[in-house]
Homo-oligomer: 221 residues x 2
Amino acid sequence: MKVPRISQATVSRLPVYVDCLMKFAGEGVAIVSSKQLSQAAGVSAAQLRKDLSYLGDFGIPGTGYVVNNLLRQMARYIGLTRQWRVAIVGYGDLGSALSRYRGFLDRNFSIVAAFDVDPAKLGRRNGDVEVHSIANLETVIKEKEVELALITTPAHAAQQVADRLVAAGVRAILSFAPVPLVLPDDVVLREVDLATEIRILSFYETLRSSQTPSTPLSLSC
Amino acid sequence: MKVPRISQATVSRLPVYVDCLMKFAGEGVAIVSSKQLSQAAGVSAAQLRKDLSYLGDFGIPGTGYVVNNLLRQMARYIGLTRQWRVAIVGYGDLGSALSRYRGFLDRNFSIVAAFDVDPAKLGRRNGDVEVHSIANLETVIKEKEVELALITTPAHAAQQVADRLVAAGVRAILSFAPVPLVLPDDVVLREVDLATEIRILSFYETLRSSQTPSTPLSLSC
DNA sequence: GAATGTGAAAAGCTTCACAGCC
DNA sequence: GGCTGTGAAGCTTTTCACATTC
């Protein structure tokens, strides 16, 4: 095997493979073929094999992949062997929903702090995470040893918050603010823009209903 | 201009351009260059010009784009000239947060119905959307003339819910369930997997901290 | 002079198809 | 016989660079 170069596209599929493997493991399946696993993950078998080949030669030709072995190898690469300390900045509806999101909590991500500008939200209520004043962002980030941050502030505050998080030492950020952020290259940034996602749907629907010969618009797929 | 073929990648950027244009319009800017607009949108100037060229020749060489003109043209294509009727299936933390999300409400998307299996959640409380029993999904979808649906159920229920939505006539779905869905080709499906997103961050962080000569893993970017 | 629109080149990603291994 | 791992081909997307237009 030559030195692997893992593409962005591959990285974004690895967590899905892990979920599928855990499901198989939970069902007592010991070995899966690339076909079985790829179907569960919603990709082609060739895609799956190529993706996995970047991590190493974990399959057995003629047989398939040993579920527990592959799971162990992947969990190592993807960082699932330890707990991650997460902060949420912006404790509105979305931020507070995410602080209780099982998809995070069940996968070794602990929400260790939240921040908001609204004094009425400060403190801790019935088992929720403690909400700090955003004025104390730097201090609390360091105290709680936060490694990852979610930004769920309004658009206008997002860039400033991101800058402060980076200055405080956070190296990976998941932003839900509907505005493009600019950060240093060595900070990992993912942006989930829900307002954009829903408009992509409406775009395709508009396209569908305007499918007439006179309309000068078509799609490449 | 030849017959345009708009790529997926281009479509996913158009809503961002619209947001940026509205911001410029709000600031009283009458004309923008591809450089200005592309910087606001976080893409290259060449990228922006190529994207816009698929929709038509809206720019003025030597000058730039007339903000209001471009905005009008884009709003037409993207379906922002009318209100969209949206349903949310799964009224847990995430579903109820999304039903109040301003990023939707401010952009002509109305949440007209919500569904849950939990009888304790049924009804309507202080200005919230009405929550219906999922048993009545088909009836309410048709009554309320729902066009788009958000799926915020647990993973195990998502595929069944999606199938019922499609059978009831919904043609575009945004799913937050952390599981790949399979739907007919003529249904527009977007999947936002938050559990995957956060693990992509942890992957890159794990990679960063394992950057030693002995580790056989590197990235293509 | 200045900025757009666009072919052509480059880069990135997916699919194919088959040699090699179990 | 069956399935993996992977070069090569094919497709999509981005970047380049410049002729064209104002």
